[in-house]
């Protein structure tokens, strides 16, 4: 693996990763309706995007869902991870271990269908949830995002120095105080990472949301999917460019903050 072979394959690999994204951005500034034929520079698709009420309202739905399910999944995922790493023996430990990791390997179509059937039967027998919409999407997303948060939180909880918690306990702090004063501040960066991951996963999900949503609650991916199913459309390119811009800015800020934190530590 020396000489020209490795650099050439790696370069081709990165071209493969980035070329489609770059062409997506370039053609969002195309004046022509034909997405892949250049017809001069224009920002008309951005204007059209801002006038598209369906896209704007679904983006708002998606942001609400992502915010709520990321927050809820951090609570549930952290509790699950904490229980599994700190309590060595309790009834149902094996069950919880299985239930918290299984959503990671579960095909989305199965999660979506089975949750929808649960919601329908619950509505028939308990009267709740009445119909499907925001609430049911939030519940579904929380459940699968909690698994990702739990993995991140678990690895942080395992690697942290447990003597800190022991010392606090020896000095007379109760379990709640040890958790809020010692454990939580130590694992906080991992939880922020988990929240961000959950937020992204929720924003991105099409399949599960399609199953569990009802009329009137379409998420952004659902609207995009119904648009691009019929073929390429330039306003989707404009939307993609905006999303890529947001991600780039977020990553740059995160990188800058990490570098500053590292300098402080040194």
């Amino acid at each position: 693996m020396r000489g020209w072979f490795l650099p050439v394959t790696v370069t081709l690999g990165f071209v493969f990763l980035y070329a489609p994204i770059i062409s997506l951005v370039v053609f969002s500034f195309n004046d022509s309706r034909l997405v892949t034929v250049w017809g001069g520079f224009s920002t008309r698709w951005y204007g059209e995007l801002l006038r598209d009420r369906q896209i704007l309202s679904s983006a708002w739905v998606s942001l609400q869902v992502a915010f709520a399910s990321a927050t809820l999944s951090v609570v549930i995922g952290t509790l699950g991870a904490f229980v599994l790493t700190r309590f060595s023996r309790f009834t149902g430990r094996l069950l919880l271990t299985g239930m918290i990791t299984a959503p990671l390997v579960m095909p989305e179509v199965i999660t979506g269908l089975s949750l929808l059937l649960l919601f329908v039967s619950m509505e028939l027998t308990l009267g709740w949830p009445a119909g499907r919409g925001l609430t049911t999407i939030i519940i579904a997303h929380t459940t699968f995002c909690a698994a990702f948060v739990a993995v991140i939180a678990q690895s942080r909880l395992r690697s942290m120095d447990e003597s800190l918690e022991e010392a606090a306990r020896d000095l007379g702090a109760g379990p709640v105080r040890v958790f809020f004063d010692i454990t939580l501040p130590v694992i906080a960066p991992a939880l922020v990472a988990g929240w961000l991951l959950a937020f992204t996963l929720s924003l991105d999900d099409l399949v599960i949301a399609s199953f569990v949503s009802g009329p009137g609650a379409s998420t952004l991916p659902m609207v995009i999917f119904s648009k691009i199913r019929l073929g390429v459309s330039p306003d989707v390119n404009a939307l993609a460019t905006i999303i890529i811009g947001f991600v780039l800015v977020a990553v740059l800020i995160a990188g800058w903050m990490m570098r500053r934190a590292m300098r402080k530590e040194m």
Binding site: G13, F90, I100, P103, E108, I110, A173
Partner: protein
């Protein structure tokens, strides 16, 4: 953290703790109960509902399936359950072919992801520090943008008047566009593209741990770089290869979006069959049976493998 102090010292917290003690509840059991209950209701229970409805029959009503219990004419409860849907799955070649072709497509894509991902992971693991972090970031970055939009990007690339065909025609390499969209080839590309970071990251994590002294020892003993790679590096990176391959293979099997957008009408994948059965045919019981069989065929072996691995790690 003053919030924590206030919480443990304040009277309401003590009161709650005292009341919970009276009820035989400890804070510990409450902490266990929250994630346990949530997952039992919203992750475990759905599978029982799924299993039950897979034994029902589709009817035109709300809900569109027959009830599990019914009052017999003499007033007693009778159970209405039939394995008709499963017999239907076994007899209809469509479903068998869909399961087989999902496995084939997932396997081929995993292999290509490994072939592309391995050199990249190897190169990043060997790169000096500032360059290494930048390259790693560049691998992860596309993952943070929307999955749907990345698949969409390939639609613009692969179309008959898309970027690739237009470039090849203007360079004079081909005269008429090659059909790339709506083929299995496009589905392979879509899956490899989407899941490549999942292949690279575990491989990278494994390859950085590789002890350089072993490579030096091999070359000191006269092994060529090629021989060293195949006798030392490759066997030692096997855990990374397995982990990366699983992370690509598992989601690829049940994939719906990629075959729906990039595949042709004859690209059979089981996730797509389930989707159509539910949304187009509106046959909930058959869709449930498809899901149960998929669960048994695909997820059960994976979960079994994982539990074996967990047990091995614990001992």
């Amino acid at each position: 953290m003053s919030a924590g102090n206030a919480l443990t010292r304040s009277a309401p917290w003590r009161g709650t703790a005292w009341m919970m003690g009276k009820l035989g509840l400890s804070g510990r059991s409450l902490v266990i109960a929250i994630p346990m209950l949530w997952l039992a209701v919203f992750f475990l229970a759905p599978f029982f509902v799924l299993g039950r409805i897979s034994l029902a029959e589709a009817i035109i009503a709300r809900p569109p399936y027959t009830p599990f219990f019914d009052r017999a004419p003499d007033g007693s409860l009778e159970i209405l359950a039939s394995f008709e849907n499963y017999r239907f799955l076994l007899e209809d070649a469509l479903y068998r072919n869909a399961y087989l072709s999902s496995i084939r497509i997932a396997l081929v894509s995993t292999l290509f992801a490994l072939l592309i991902g391995y050199p990249i992971a190897y190169y990043i693991a060997r790169a000096p520090e500032p360059k290494r972090s930048v390259l790693l970031m560049m691998v992860i970055l596309p993952f943070w943008t929307s999955f749907l939009l990345r698949v969409y990007a390939w639609m613009g690339f692969l179309r008959s008047n898309g970027v690739i065909n237009n470039t090849l025609i203007s360079l004079g390499i081909i005269d008429s566009p090659i059909q790339m969209m709506q083929t299995d080839f496009a589905v392979y590309i879509g899956i490899v593209y989407t899941y490549l970071p999942f292949m690279i990251l575990p491989l990278y994590a494994n390859l950085t741990k590789l002890d350089g002294a072993l490579l030096e020892a091999a070359s000191d003993l006269g092994a060529s770089p090629m021989v060293t790679f195949f006798t030392v590096t490759l066997p030692l990176s096997l855990p990374g290869i397995v982990a990366g391959s699983m992370l690509v293979f598992i989601p690829a099997i049940g994939e719906y979006v990629i075959p729906a957008l990039l595949g042709g009408p004859d690209t059979l994948m089981i996730g797509r069959v389930l989707w159509d059965e539910f949304f187009s045919s509106r046959d909930w019981p058959v869709a449930s049976a498809v899901a149960i069989v998929m669960l048994v065929l695909v997820v059960a072996p994976i979960m079994w493998l994982q539990s074996v691995q967990n047990r091995r790690e614990e001992t």
